[in-house]
Symmetry: C2
DNA sequence: TAGATTGTTAATCGATTAACAATC
DNA sequence: TAGATTGTTAATCGATTAACAATC
């Protein structure tokens, strides 16, 4: 139950969670740090060190109870917090996410989407209304979303980000290929930079 | 011109590249480590330390020539290597990438896409043929792609990954929410795990 | 009890920051 | 020459690994 979780640990938490959830649904009731490490490519030491950040939920001589592990990880990842989200930019990528991605499973409950194209505004996608971006201020003041998903064109991303920060949105999931400047207000940004990701891949692929 | 580039440095290279390219296209001809650091949120020490991995391309008292920096970074990232790529899974996400994402700009030249749906196979998307996944072996033996983009359903990802590795594909850009096992053959995997990314965001957003 | 496995402390490793001589 | 800024060495910081007493 520590306050400051090292960022290296935070990045590993989702992988623990996914694997432990799979164990639970397969009916496995216990798992050791050694087994977790072997499966996830970590070391057993690292696994125990990671979990000890939160006080440790294992038992000497036994290992970890998968169900207890799962619910602890879920709590640490705040998957049950019911964060409210808006998605901005119902283009190809926005639609792909809306159709295929299970936001709720990762802790986010979408409540609306926004776009500017007349043929999209007023329709609904995956059960969510598509509102005009001009109504963002009104909507956010009323519904207070916690997180915004930015699948808009890069050209408008910074302006939108600033509007969202001003409206009190605490987290931005940024799919645009630009680095957002969000000031000192504590807004958290998580980037999904496709181009950076592909470049690092090319960089690491040995010359044919 | 070192052999072993620290992974922490590799992850920063695309950001340097993007910013330096922007400087070049704005006609800026020089930049100091201090300016780069301020813009990218690094320290000046870190910038110089990073660049010195490659022998250093600056000049005391002057800084870095943007054009020289750009071309050096481009070479290190192997953006001009002309890696050949195939994209597997022409669903929502695959289509979003094909329509919106500039693969060539990040070092990859797509040569074909694959799917299994009869209504898709035989068509073309963004100028690329959509071939049947059953023909993957024949195609790869003839055209020797370097990298595969996995935008297929998670359920078939591991099987496809193994087929691709066996066919000599050296890099996998993995958009499925599973961790691929690719053995010891040196195949490089770059994951774009949406669920992990969103979970870490939720985890870092302070409780409302 | 004996075997297994944790949580934690200490040691190692890698990455970041600071400092400064070299030099443009 | 004087000012600026690099490349590099040393110091600090954080993350990973190893070791082991505690204990289920």
């Amino acid at each position: 139950m520590t306050n400051k979780i090292p960022s290296a640990v935070i990045r590993r938490l989702p992988r623990y969670y996914r694997f432990v959830e799979a164990l639970c649904s397969r009916g496995v009731t216990r798992v050791s740090s050694r087994e977790l490490a072997a499966e996830l490519g970590f070391t057993a030491s690292q696994v125990r060190q990671d979990f000890s950040c939160f006080g440790g939920f294992g038992q000497q001589g036994y290992g970890y109870n998968t169900e207890s592990l799962r619910s602890n990880l879920s709590a640490i990842l705040k998957l049950q917090n019911g964060y409210r989200g808006v998605l901005i930019g119902v283009g190809n990528l926005g639609l792909a996410l809306l159709h295929n991605f299970d936001f709720a499973k990762s802790g986010l409950r979408l409540i609306a989407t926004f776009d500017v194209l007349p043929e999209k505004v007023g329709t609904s996608v995956s059960g969510l209304p598509v509102l005009h971006s001009d109504t963002l201020e009104d909507f956010c003041r009323e519904h207070k979303p916690d997180i915004a998903v930015l699948t808009c064109p890069s050209a408008v991303a910074q302006t939108l980000a600033q509007r969202l920060v001003d409206l009190g949105v605490a987290g931005l999931w940024n799919f645009t290929n630009i680095d957002l400047a969000v000031g000192e207000g504590g807004t958290v940004v998580e980037n999904v930079h496709f181009s950076d990701s592909l470049m690092t891949l090319c960089c690491r692929v040995p010359r044919e």
